[in-house]
Symmetry: C2
Subunit: 327 residues, 2 copies
């Protein structure tokens, strides 16, 4: 039986994330990069931690973002969207010097993606401790960490403080490892990752990230290793192959994928995670939470833009009723 006390209840305080807030601009046509003028669409609010929080709020969880945007329309777009969707934006700093971070993305015909980024020299990584950040952390009931945060010094500095504080007040922690195979993981990041795993209640890897997170070959060996390190539940996101929940007590629940026509996969994993954490914290049982999470991820890929398809509980109920599943 899945552990119903896995995550701290909604009543303890908001689910928060700490990390990059961006706009995304997408090429309309497929092809190689941005070497000629072309049709684009955007700016879309983006940044994995922000997508997570937006979906969390849309489905009815209390949620807040710690981040930084520029004093420009791209920043206002992001803050406005999160606010409209019910998220707490009090701890989003407006940087008056650096612009809001941005990412241009174009899909190639083989589904690979080309990017042009402006993140490192943008407001996105200029996250700092403010009274508002301290206040949000002091009333948070759950912290969700994106693995990418481990290689952003300003983000890690806050997570290092926030994680033990939130745990000390009875809060819980989830981690999306984001250990994509194209990323090289240096020793420092690995050490941070291991430090965080010890505090993680819920791990949300995609595909082969499970084995990379455990540093062990073999799916079940990886699960054993993670459970030994203190993780209480692993929810494995497998895209069109559906999702699987593994509990430390041996529980296993399988959720078949929804069949959708994919328009834009960006943000699917973050919507999945945001919906799952919100549902569990709202007291919805693990199997139903997994269905909502799968629906949130699937619905989001039918919309162009990283968080355009984040659904409310009602929209996800409709989606679940209307969308065929693998079995």
């Amino acid at each position: 039986m899945p552990d119903s006390s896995l995550l701290a209840p909604e009543s303890l305080g908001a689910t928060i994330s700490i990390g990059e807030i961006l706009v995304e601009i997408m090429a309309v046509t497929r092809g190689a990069g941005f070497l000629e003028p072309q049709e684009l669409i955007g700016p879309y609010p983006s940044g994995a931690p922000a997508i997570f929080i937006d979906q969390c709020a849309r489905i009815g969880g209390s949620a807040g973002a710690v981040g930084s945007v520029g004093d420009d329309d791209f920043g206002r777009l992001n803050v406005g969207r999160l606010q409209r969707d019910g998220a707490d934006v009090s701890a989003i700093r407006v940087d008056t010097v650096y612009p809001t971070g941005s990412a241009f993305v174009r899909y190639r015909t083989d589904d690979a993606r080309d990017f042009v980024y402006n993140i490192a020299h943008s407001a996105a990584e200029r996250i700092e401790w403010t009274d508002a950040v301290g206040a949000l952390i002091a009333r948070a009931g759950h912290l969700h960490v994106m693995g990418t945060a481990l290689s952003m010094p300003s983000v890690w500095a806050l997570i290092e403080v926030a994680a033990p504080r939130i745990r000390a007040r009875g809060g819980s922690i989830s981690l999306d490892p984001n250990l994509r195979k194209e990323l090289t993981v240096d020793e420092q990041v690995r050490a941070r990752f291991e430090h965080l795993i010890e505090m993680t209640d819920l791990l949300l890897p995609s595909g082969e990230e499970l084995e990379r997170a455990a540093c062990v070959a073999g799916k079940y060996q990886a699960l054993d290793t993670l459970f030994e390190h203190g993780v209480r539940e692993v929810v494995l996101k497998r895209g069109a192959d559906g999702a699987q929940l593994f509990g430390r007590d041996g529980t296993c629940i399988e959720a078949p994928a929804f069949h959708v026509c994919e328009l834009d996969p960006t943000g699917a994993g973050d919507c999945f995670g945001g919906a799952y954490v919100a549902c569990r914290r709202l007291g919805i049982d693990a199997a139903e939470s997994l269905t909502y999470a799968s629906a949130a991820g699937a619905r989001n890929v039918t919309y162009r833009g990283p968080m355009e398809g984040a659904g409310s509980r009602e929209e996800l109920n409709d989606f679940i009723r209307q969308t065929p599943r693998s079995r």
Copy 2:
């Protein structure tokens, strides 16, 4: 009679500019800013000094750009375009840390423009002295300066060295004051401007910039003041009211505007300047140069994108034949 030796001849070496290289991304629809996702088009190669040089090269002048781009598709787009159009790109530095500068622009219904910039924290302002820059300056015959360069420390540092060197070898200097009324001009910029005016052969102001450049009220008083300070010729760009040339010897030539349907005014003044300087340096007389310049500016506004309408000599000849003028 206009002074046929106003600018150094083509044979002395290339016309060069020093300054920002950017991409521009335009909103397709009119409206206020970038507060929601929308249709965009871009990236277009841009940056006033780059537009000037591109038009200069396209019309057949030898021309080169000193600037800096990021190691990304936006940088490659800019360098590729300038190279394709015949400009010397040897002194464009590729910055491996900062991204290529970018500007998002949207027209409001009243023709005012909203921008989101990423220039100050981009490669665009990270221009530095390199051997390639030194070599290009050493073989340059003319320097064109954008007034905006005066408030960019890294750009001004190079101009301060380049201007006297180019003059010392018999080269000439043109200046587009860019003293838009919305810009506040601090004392340091004013001092730089006055220093540069003493070396300027050709001044290319738009509308009310003439009086602002001279710090004097009244068009003719402004001209007198500028001529006293060493300027030899002033070409006043008046958009749909045509252009006027004033020589220090009292010459006045008027060039009526071409009647075009304006699609995107960005870059018109830079194309005007690039064509004018190239023509004069190629030995084309002042009146005909003024016609080419007016045609280059007018043709460019019929294209979307800041330098998409920069025309070759043949294209401009066709444009001149086919386009009605004010009288």
